[in-house]
Protein backbone atom coordinates (compact mmCIF):
# COMPACT_ATOMS: atom_id res chain seq x y z
CA UNK A 1 0.00 0.00 0.00
CA UNK A 2 1.49 3.32 -0.96
CA UNK A 3 0.31 6.72 0.15
CA UNK A 4 1.59 10.22 0.49
CA UNK A 5 3.50 10.67 3.71
CA UNK A 6 3.10 7.16 5.07
CA UNK A 7 3.77 3.60 4.13
CA UNK A 8 3.10 2.34 7.63
CA UNK A 9 -0.35 1.54 8.98
CA UNK A 10 -1.47 4.21 11.43
CA UNK A 11 -1.95 2.16 14.56
CA UNK A 12 -2.85 3.73 17.86
CA UNK A 13 -4.02 6.90 16.10
CA UNK A 14 -6.35 8.60 18.57
CA UNK A 15 -9.96 8.04 17.64
CA UNK A 16 -9.21 6.33 14.33
CA UNK A 17 -10.06 2.94 13.01
CA UNK A 18 -6.64 2.05 11.67
CA UNK A 19 -6.44 0.27 8.38
CA UNK A 20 -3.60 -2.14 8.11
CA UNK A 21 -2.25 -4.52 5.54
CA UNK A 22 -3.88 -7.31 7.56
CA UNK A 23 -7.36 -6.00 6.75
CA UNK A 24 -9.12 -7.91 4.09
CA UNK A 25 -9.28 -6.99 0.46
CA UNK A 26 -13.00 -6.58 1.06
CA UNK A 27 -12.48 -3.93 3.73
CA UNK A 28 -10.03 -2.13 1.50
CA UNK A 29 -12.50 -2.18 -1.39
CA UNK A 30 -15.28 -0.89 0.86
CA UNK A 31 -13.06 1.98 1.96
CA UNK A 32 -12.19 2.81 -1.65
CA UNK A 33 -15.86 3.02 -2.55
CA UNK A 34 -16.83 4.86 0.63
CA UNK A 35 -13.97 7.33 0.46
CA UNK A 36 -14.73 8.11 -3.20
CA UNK A 37 -18.39 8.80 -2.34
CA UNK A 38 -17.56 10.78 0.81
CA UNK A 39 -14.99 13.06 -0.78
CA UNK A 40 -16.97 13.56 -3.99
CA UNK A 41 -20.11 14.17 -1.93
CA UNK A 42 -18.16 16.68 0.13
CA UNK A 43 -16.97 18.46 -3.03
CA UNK A 44 -20.44 18.37 -4.59
CA UNK A 45 -22.07 19.72 -1.40
CA UNK A 46 -20.00 22.85 -1.84
CA UNK A 47 -22.33 23.89 -4.68
CA UNK A 48 -25.28 24.16 -2.30
CA UNK A 49 -26.40 27.76 -2.55
CA UNK A 50 -24.23 28.81 -5.49
CA UNK A 51 -25.20 26.61 -8.44
CA UNK A 52 -26.06 28.19 -11.83
CA UNK A 53 -29.82 28.24 -11.21
CA UNK A 54 -31.93 27.81 -8.09
CA UNK A 55 -33.69 24.80 -9.55
CA UNK A 56 -30.39 23.11 -10.39
CA UNK A 57 -29.05 24.01 -6.94
CA UNK A 58 -31.79 22.00 -5.23
CA UNK A 59 -31.34 19.00 -7.55
CA UNK A 60 -27.56 19.02 -7.28
CA UNK A 61 -27.67 19.14 -3.50
CA UNK A 62 -29.73 15.94 -3.49
CA UNK A 63 -27.00 14.24 -5.48
CA UNK A 64 -24.39 15.32 -2.92
CA UNK A 65 -26.57 14.08 -0.06
CA UNK A 66 -27.10 10.73 -1.77
CA UNK A 67 -23.35 10.34 -2.13
CA UNK A 68 -22.81 10.97 1.57
CA UNK A 69 -25.59 8.48 2.27
CA UNK A 70 -23.85 5.87 0.12
CA UNK A 71 -20.56 6.55 1.90
CA UNK A 72 -22.26 6.08 5.25
CA UNK A 73 -23.75 2.71 4.25
CA UNK A 74 -20.40 1.53 2.92
CA UNK A 75 -18.55 2.67 6.06
CA UNK A 76 -21.09 0.87 8.22
CA UNK A 77 -20.37 -2.34 6.35
CA UNK A 78 -16.61 -1.78 6.66
CA UNK A 79 -16.93 -1.01 10.38
CA UNK A 80 -18.25 -4.53 11.02
CA UNK A 81 -14.78 -5.80 10.18
CA UNK A 82 -12.61 -2.80 11.01
CA UNK A 83 -14.28 -1.69 14.22
CA UNK A 84 -15.46 1.79 15.10
CA UNK A 85 -18.43 3.27 13.33
CA UNK A 86 -19.18 5.12 10.11
CA UNK A 87 -18.24 8.52 11.56
CA UNK A 88 -14.93 7.23 12.91
CA UNK A 89 -14.01 5.81 9.51
CA UNK A 90 -15.22 8.92 7.69
CA UNK A 91 -13.44 11.48 9.84
CA UNK A 92 -10.89 10.03 12.22
CA UNK A 93 -8.32 8.58 9.85
CA UNK A 94 -5.30 10.58 8.80
CA UNK A 95 -5.35 11.93 5.22
CA UNK A 96 -2.81 9.35 4.03
CA UNK A 97 -5.10 6.52 5.12
CA UNK A 98 -7.94 7.49 2.81
CA UNK A 99 -8.34 5.28 -0.23
CA UNK A 100 -10.13 7.71 -2.51
CA UNK A 101 -9.02 8.17 -6.09
CA UNK A 102 -7.45 11.52 -7.03
CA UNK A 103 -10.42 12.45 -9.26
CA UNK A 104 -12.69 13.15 -6.30
CA UNK A 105 -10.13 15.24 -4.43
CA UNK A 106 -9.81 17.94 -7.07
CA UNK A 107 -11.29 21.30 -6.15
CA UNK A 108 -13.40 22.10 -9.21
CA UNK A 109 -15.71 24.91 -8.21
CA UNK A 110 -16.51 25.75 -11.83
CA UNK A 111 -19.51 24.33 -13.63
CA UNK A 112 -17.97 22.79 -16.77
CA UNK A 113 -15.41 20.89 -14.68
CA UNK A 114 -18.01 19.91 -12.12
CA UNK A 115 -20.28 18.38 -14.76
CA UNK A 116 -17.32 16.76 -16.51
CA UNK A 117 -16.36 15.08 -13.25
CA UNK A 118 -19.95 14.09 -12.46
CA UNK A 119 -20.39 12.55 -15.88
CA UNK A 120 -17.07 10.68 -15.90
CA UNK A 121 -17.49 9.52 -12.32
CA UNK A 122 -21.03 8.22 -12.91
CA UNK A 123 -19.85 6.28 -15.96
CA UNK A 124 -16.96 4.74 -14.01
CA UNK A 125 -19.10 4.11 -10.96
CA UNK A 126 -21.70 2.31 -13.03
CA UNK A 127 -19.04 -0.07 -14.35
CA UNK A 128 -17.90 -1.07 -10.87
CA UNK A 129 -21.43 -1.20 -9.46
CA UNK A 130 -22.43 -3.62 -12.24
CA UNK A 131 -19.44 -5.77 -11.31
CA UNK A 132 -20.43 -5.74 -7.63
CA UNK A 133 -24.10 -6.47 -8.35
CA UNK A 134 -23.14 -9.58 -10.25
CA UNK A 135 -20.28 -10.56 -7.92
CA UNK A 136 -20.06 -13.35 -5.33
CA UNK A 137 -20.36 -11.13 -2.28
CA UNK A 138 -24.12 -11.21 -1.67
CA UNK A 139 -24.13 -8.54 1.02
CA UNK A 140 -22.11 -6.13 -1.07
CA UNK A 141 -24.18 -7.01 -4.16
CA UNK A 142 -27.33 -6.05 -2.22
CA UNK A 143 -25.88 -2.73 -1.14
CA UNK A 144 -24.62 -2.08 -4.68
CA UNK A 145 -28.11 -2.68 -6.05
CA UNK A 146 -29.58 -0.26 -3.52
CA UNK A 147 -26.99 2.39 -4.39
CA UNK A 148 -27.62 1.78 -8.07
CA UNK A 149 -31.33 2.56 -7.74
CA UNK A 150 -30.37 6.11 -6.65
CA UNK A 151 -27.52 6.36 -9.12
CA UNK A 152 -30.07 5.99 -11.94
CA UNK A 153 -31.10 9.58 -11.30
CA UNK A 154 -27.51 10.78 -10.97
CA UNK A 155 -26.81 9.29 -14.39
CA UNK A 156 -29.89 10.89 -15.93
CA UNK A 157 -28.81 14.24 -14.49
CA UNK A 158 -25.19 13.93 -15.63
CA UNK A 159 -26.15 12.79 -19.12
CA UNK A 160 -28.72 15.56 -19.47
CA UNK A 161 -26.07 18.15 -18.69
CA UNK A 162 -23.33 16.44 -20.74
CA UNK A 163 -25.68 16.47 -23.72
CA UNK A 164 -26.33 20.20 -23.33
CA UNK A 165 -22.64 20.95 -22.86
CA UNK A 166 -21.44 18.62 -25.61
CA UNK A 167 -20.40 21.40 -27.98
CA UNK A 168 -19.15 23.78 -25.33
CA UNK A 169 -15.34 24.08 -25.61
CA UNK A 170 -14.74 24.46 -21.90
CA UNK A 171 -16.65 21.26 -21.22
CA UNK A 172 -14.69 19.32 -23.83
CA UNK A 173 -11.47 20.69 -22.36
CA UNK A 174 -12.55 19.69 -18.85
CA UNK A 175 -13.40 16.15 -19.98
CA UNK A 176 -9.98 15.81 -21.62
CA UNK A 177 -8.30 17.13 -18.49
CA UNK A 178 -10.19 14.78 -16.14
CA UNK A 179 -10.20 11.62 -18.27
CA UNK A 180 -6.85 10.37 -16.92
CA UNK A 181 -8.24 10.79 -13.40
CA UNK A 182 -11.46 9.00 -14.33
CA UNK A 183 -9.47 5.97 -15.46
CA UNK A 184 -7.94 5.89 -11.98
CA UNK A 185 -11.36 5.24 -10.42
CA UNK A 186 -11.35 1.71 -11.82
CA UNK A 187 -8.91 -1.19 -11.66
CA UNK A 188 -7.26 -1.82 -15.06
CA UNK A 189 -9.49 -4.77 -15.95
CA UNK A 190 -12.61 -2.59 -15.87
CA UNK A 191 -11.19 0.28 -17.95
CA UNK A 192 -12.07 -1.13 -21.39
CA UNK A 193 -15.73 -1.00 -20.37
CA UNK A 194 -15.35 2.64 -19.37
CA UNK A 195 -13.75 3.41 -22.71
CA UNK A 196 -16.68 1.77 -24.45
CA UNK A 197 -19.24 3.77 -22.51
CA UNK A 198 -17.60 7.17 -22.79
CA UNK A 199 -16.16 6.87 -26.27
CA UNK A 200 -12.81 8.06 -24.88
CA UNK A 201 -9.56 6.15 -25.44
CA UNK A 202 -7.53 4.78 -22.53
CA UNK A 203 -4.37 4.76 -24.60
CA UNK A 204 -4.70 8.52 -25.14
CA UNK A 205 -4.07 9.14 -21.46
CA UNK A 206 -1.84 8.14 -18.59
CA UNK A 207 -4.19 7.07 -15.79
CA UNK A 208 -3.80 8.92 -12.48
CA UNK A 209 -3.84 5.87 -10.27
CA UNK A 210 -5.51 5.37 -6.93
CA UNK A 211 -2.93 4.98 -4.17
CA UNK A 212 -1.45 8.45 -4.17
CA UNK A 213 -3.19 11.60 -3.09
CA UNK A 214 -3.21 15.04 -4.61
CA UNK A 215 -2.13 18.02 -2.53
CA UNK A 216 -5.81 19.01 -2.37
CA UNK A 217 -6.75 16.24 0.04
CA UNK A 218 -5.05 17.58 3.10
CA UNK A 219 -6.64 21.06 3.10
CA UNK A 220 -9.97 19.35 2.40
CA UNK A 221 -9.45 17.01 5.35
CA UNK A 222 -8.45 19.93 7.60
CA UNK A 223 -11.67 21.74 6.83
CA UNK A 224 -13.80 18.60 6.95
CA UNK A 225 -12.53 17.59 10.39
CA UNK A 226 -12.00 21.04 11.94
CA UNK A 227 -15.05 21.05 14.21
CA UNK A 228 -14.78 17.36 15.04
CA UNK A 229 -11.17 17.74 16.14
CA UNK A 230 -11.89 20.89 18.15
CA UNK A 231 -13.22 18.87 21.10
CA UNK A 232 -11.64 15.41 21.02
CA UNK A 233 -14.00 12.51 21.59
CA UNK A 234 -17.08 14.72 21.92
CA UNK A 235 -20.57 13.85 20.74
CA UNK A 236 -21.91 16.30 18.18
Amino acid sequence: MSGVGSTEPQEGHAGSAGVSLKDSARAQLLLELADDELILGWRDSEWTGIAPTLEEDVAFSSIAQNEIGHARALYELAAVELGGDADALAFDRAPAEYRCAPLVELHLLEWAHTIARRWLYEEADQVRIEALKTGDDAELAGLAAKIDREEVYHRIHAQMWAERLRDEPRFRAAVDELWPYALGILPPELRPELERRTGLRADSAQAVERGTHTEELEPLWDEMTEVRRSVAGATW
Partner: protein
Protein backbone atom coordinates in the same frame (compact mmCIF):
# COMPACT_ATOMS: atom_id res chain seq x y z
CA UNK B 1 -36.63 30.01 -19.99
CA UNK B 2 -40.04 28.36 -20.26
CA UNK B 3 -42.18 27.76 -17.17
CA UNK B 4 -43.53 24.32 -16.28
CA UNK B 5 -46.48 24.09 -13.90
CA UNK B 6 -46.17 21.31 -11.32
CA UNK B 7 -49.22 19.34 -10.17
CA UNK B 8 -48.75 17.07 -7.24
CA UNK B 9 -50.58 14.02 -5.96
CA UNK B 10 -49.90 13.58 -2.27
CA UNK B 11 -51.41 10.13 -1.76
CA UNK B 12 -52.67 7.44 -4.13
CA UNK B 13 -56.25 8.10 -5.16
CA UNK B 14 -56.12 11.79 -4.39
CA UNK B 15 -56.55 14.51 -6.96
CA UNK B 16 -53.53 16.25 -8.41
CA UNK B 17 -53.23 19.76 -7.02
CA UNK B 18 -51.21 22.64 -8.36
CA UNK B 19 -48.04 22.92 -6.29
CA UNK B 20 -45.97 25.57 -8.03
CA UNK B 21 -43.78 25.98 -11.06
CA UNK B 22 -40.19 25.58 -12.24
CA UNK B 23 -38.26 27.50 -14.85
CA UNK B 24 -36.46 25.00 -17.11
CA UNK B 25 -35.12 24.89 -20.68
CA UNK B 26 -37.00 21.68 -21.57
CA UNK B 27 -39.06 18.83 -20.20
CA UNK B 28 -36.02 16.74 -19.20
CA UNK B 29 -34.62 19.48 -17.00
CA UNK B 30 -38.08 20.29 -15.67
CA UNK B 31 -38.44 16.64 -14.61
CA UNK B 32 -35.03 16.44 -12.96
CA UNK B 33 -35.63 19.67 -11.09
CA UNK B 34 -39.28 19.21 -10.12
CA UNK B 35 -38.48 15.70 -8.86
CA UNK B 36 -36.22 17.18 -6.19
CA UNK B 37 -38.16 20.36 -5.47
CA UNK B 38 -41.43 18.47 -4.90
CA UNK B 39 -40.34 14.98 -3.95
CA UNK B 40 -37.03 14.86 -2.14
CA UNK B 41 -38.71 14.04 1.17
CA UNK B 42 -40.89 11.38 -0.39
CA UNK B 43 -43.82 13.72 0.07
CA UNK B 44 -45.38 13.14 -3.34
CA UNK B 45 -46.93 10.02 -4.80
CA UNK B 46 -46.73 11.50 -8.31
CA UNK B 47 -46.13 14.73 -10.22
CA UNK B 48 -47.51 16.09 -13.47
CA UNK B 49 -45.49 18.70 -15.32
CA UNK B 50 -47.24 20.88 -17.87
CA UNK B 51 -45.73 23.68 -19.94
CA UNK B 52 -47.45 26.86 -18.83
CA UNK B 53 -48.71 27.68 -22.33
CA UNK B 54 -50.54 24.32 -22.36
CA UNK B 55 -52.63 25.30 -19.36
CA UNK B 56 -55.84 26.98 -20.51
CA UNK B 57 -57.60 28.94 -17.78
CA UNK B 58 -61.32 29.66 -17.62
CA UNK B 59 -62.30 32.28 -15.06
CA UNK B 60 -65.43 33.97 -16.38
CA UNK B 61 -69.01 32.66 -16.53
CA UNK B 62 -72.38 33.85 -17.89
CA UNK B 63 -75.54 33.02 -15.90
CA UNK B 64 -77.96 35.73 -16.91
CA UNK B 65 -81.25 33.82 -16.74
CA UNK B 66 -80.89 32.07 -13.43
CA UNK B 67 -81.45 28.50 -14.61
CA UNK B 68 -82.33 27.04 -11.23
CA UNK B 69 -82.71 23.48 -12.42
CA UNK B 70 -78.94 23.28 -12.80
CA UNK B 71 -78.38 23.73 -9.09
CA UNK B 72 -79.32 21.69 -6.04
CA UNK B 73 -80.88 24.73 -4.39
CA UNK B 74 -83.19 25.21 -7.35
CA UNK B 75 -85.56 22.48 -6.12
CA UNK B 76 -87.90 22.92 -3.13
CA UNK B 77 -88.39 19.27 -2.28
CA UNK B 78 -89.08 19.52 1.45
CA UNK B 79 -92.28 21.56 1.30
CA UNK B 80 -93.99 19.50 -1.40
CA UNK B 81 -92.94 16.21 0.20
CA UNK B 82 -94.66 17.32 3.41
CA UNK B 83 -97.78 18.22 1.44
CA UNK B 84 -97.77 14.90 -0.45
CA UNK B 85 -97.39 12.93 2.79
CA UNK B 86 -100.32 14.80 4.37
CA UNK B 87 -102.51 13.97 1.38
CA UNK B 88 -101.54 10.28 1.55
CA UNK B 89 -102.29 10.19 5.29
CA UNK B 90 -105.69 11.83 4.76
CA UNK B 91 -106.51 9.37 1.98
CA UNK B 92 -105.60 6.42 4.20
CA UNK B 93 -107.69 7.80 7.09
CA UNK B 94 -110.69 8.34 4.80
CA UNK B 95 -110.45 4.83 3.19
Amino acid sequence: MPIFEVFRQEKKGQAFAHAGSVEAPDAAFAEAWAREQYGRRGESEALWLVPRESVHAITDWADEFDLKYRRVDGYSIKERLREARERADKAKAGA
